[in-house]
C-alpha cells in the first residue's frame, strides 16, 4: 500500500520535519527544535497539529439516526444539544473497544472523528450496524488541524471571528476565505484549543496564517507526551480489543441514563463489570526514580509476582518526571499502592498515582 501524504506535507518539510510512517500516512514526528521545545511551547503558547490522517465521518440522518446510534454508542444522544461533542467508543458485544472517538451532533446528522488506523474498519462496522440505512461519508476532501495551548484562542480569533465564544466540547460553522469550516473547542493535550475541519485546498493557507501569528508546528512525538501528561488514552496502546471502558477507567464517558437503561452494544458486560468489578484497572503509575518505563514493562508486587503491564510510558517534559499508564490487578489499583517496574532486568519502585499528571486547563463547559 502506498504511503499517503497529508496536504500539509510540504509545509512540514519546509519546517524540517522528521517523518515516520503512521497508520499508512507519512507523518511528522518532530520538527527542527525537537519534542521538548514543542511540548513546552504548546503548554505556554500555542501549537499546531496536523491530524488530517484521522477519519472524519459524517452520517446523515434525523431522529431515527439518533435512535440507531444510541444502540451503538453509550451516549444520551437524544439529550445532547446541537453542535455538542462527546467522547465515546465503538465496542463489540463483549464491550471490547474497536476505537475511541469524538461524536458531534450537527444539523443534518453526526460528525465522528476516528483514529487513523481504525477508520476504514470503523466505517464498515458502523455501516453494518446501521443496516446501511444512512448516507455515510468518510471524508477525504477535508483536512483536520488542531491548535492547542493557552494562546490558541487569541491567535485563532485574529484570523477567524467567533470560535472564542465556543464552550469546551462544542462546535459550530465559521467562515474562512469563502468557505464554511467546522470548528470544535476540543483537543488531546490537556490545554484549551480547537480542532478545525477545513477543505484540503485551504488548509495550507490557514496553517501558514496561524504560524505567522506565532503558532508553532508540533509533531506526533510531542502530541504523545502532551496527551500522556494529560492522562489521556491512546488507542492501540492503552485501550484496544482486549480492554473494556470499565477496565480502562473510562466509565465517566458513559451516560448515566444509558447505564441504567442499557440498550447499547456491550451493555451486559459493562453492567456486570460495574456491579461485580473488574480483574484489572487502568491506572497512572509514577516511578520514584528518573527511570522511564515503556510500553510492555512488567509491573510487580513486593512478592515478585507480576500484577500488570505498562501500556504507555515516557518522560513528561512539563512535570519533569517520568510518567506511565498501565493495567494492574484491581486490588493494586488504590492510590499510593507501591509497585515495582522491571526495566532492563532491574526492578524500580513506583506508586499508583492520580491522573492527570498535568492539571488540565480546559475552559468552562467541560464534561
Amino acid at each position: 500500500m502506498e504511503i499517503i501524504k497529508t496536504k500539509l506535507y510540504n509545509l512540514h518539510q519546509k519546517h524540517r520535519a522528521k517523518f515516520v510512517p503512521f497508520a499508512g500516512y507519512q507523518m511528522p514526528i518532530q520538527y527542527s527544535e525537537g519534542i521538548i521545545v514543542e511540548h513546552k511551547y504548546t503548554r505556554s503558547n500555542a501549537g499546531l497539529f496536523d491530524v488530517s490522517h484521522m477519519g472524519q465521518l459524517f452520517i446523515k440522518g434525523d431522529n431515527e439516526l439518533t435512535n440507531d446510534l444510541e444502540k451503538i454508542f453509550p451516549l444520551d444522544l437524544k439529550n445532547i444539544s446541537l453542535n455538542q461533542s462527546k467522547y465515546s467508543f465503538l465496542m463489540n458485544e463483549e464491550a471490547y473497544i474497536h476505537d475511541d472517538l469524538i461524536i458531534t451532533k450537527v444539523k443534518d446528522g453526526y460528525n465522528i472523528i476516528l483514529n487513523a488506523a481504525c477508520k476504514t474498519q470503523d466505517y464498515k462496522i458502523i455501516k453494518q450496524l446501521l443496516n446501511d440505512k444512512y448516507e455515510m461519508i468518510l471524508n477525504s476532501d477535508l483536512s483536520l488541524i488542531a491548535i492547542q495551548g493557552p494562546k490558541a484562542v487569541n491567535i485563532l480569533e485574529e484570523i477567524i471571528k467567533g470560535p472564542e465564544k465556543l464552550n469546551f466540547m462544542n462546535g459550530d460553522w465559521f467562515k474562512y476565505l469563502d468557505e464554511k469550516i467546522y470548528i470544535t473547542r476540543s483537543g488531546y493535550t490537556g490545554e484549551d484549543g480547537f480542532e478545525i475541519s477545513i477543505n484540503n485546498d485551504n488548509v495550507e493557507e490557514l496553517a501558514e496564517n496561524l504560524i505567522l501569528k506565532g503558532v508553532k508546528l508540533i509533531g506526533l512525538g510531542a502530541r504523545d507526551t502532551l496527551r500522556l501528561e494529560a492522562g489521556l488514552c491512546l488507542y492501540g496502546h492503552d485501550i484496544d480489543l482486549e480492554t473494556t471502558p470499565i477496565e480502562a477507567n473510562l466509565k465517566w464517558a458513559i451516560s448515566k441514563k444509558r447505564l441504567e437503561n442499557g440498550g447499547f452494544i456491550g451493555f451486559d458486560k459493562i453492567d456486570s463489570q460495574i456491579k461485580s468489578g473488574t480483574k484489572r484497572l487502568r491506572v497512572g503509575i509514577a516511578p520514584e526514580d528518573r527511570i522511564i518505563a515503556r510500553e510492555k514493562t512488567k509491573i510487580y508486587n513486593n512478592n515478585n509476582e507480576i500484577i500488570g503491564e505498562i501500556t504507555s510510558g515516557t518522560f513528561g517534559p512539563s512535570i519533569q518526571k517520568p510518567i506511565t499508564l498501565g493495567y494492574v490487578q484491581s486490588k493494586y489499583s488504590a492510590l499510593d499502592t507501591k509497585v515495582l517496574l522491571e526495566v532492563r532486568s532491574k526492578k524500580y519502585p513506583a506508586k499508583v498515582c492520580k491522573l492527570p499528571f498535568y492539571k488540565k486547563s480546559y475552559v468552562k463547559g467541560a464534561n
Binding site: 518532530q30 519534542i35 521538548i36 515503556r294 518522560f315 517520568p322
Partner: protein
Amino acid sequence: MSDVKFSKEHEWLKMDGDIATIGITKHATEMLGDIVFVELPDLGSNVKKDGNAGVVESTKAASDVYTPVSGEVVENNQAIVDDPGKINNDPENEAWFFKLRIKDKSELETLMNKEEYDKFAKESGN
C-alpha cells in the same frame, strides 16, 4: 579533534595516556532526539569492546550505549545524569559519558577517524 576516534555505533573516543574519554556523537544525538535519561556504567566496573555500557533514552525510545574499547571505568559524568539535556547541547565535549583505563591499545585500530566517520554517518543514514 584530530586525535578523536569514532565507532560504527556512533561513539567518539579521545585518548590521554592510557585513559579514554568516551561519549556519543552529535550525529547520534540528532537521530535520538531530546535525551531525557541516561544510565552510565558503574565506577570500577570492567566493560568490553562493543559491549553494553549504559543507556540513553529520548522522549521517543531507549537506546543502548556501547563502548568502542575495553577497559575499567575510572570516571563517569554525573552532570549528564542530573541534566541529560546537556547531551543534546554539547555531545562531543562537556557531555562525555565515561572514562576508561584501557589495556589493549590495538583495539583502537579498528576505529574511524573524523573524516571516515563523517562519511560513514552520511552514507549509513542511521
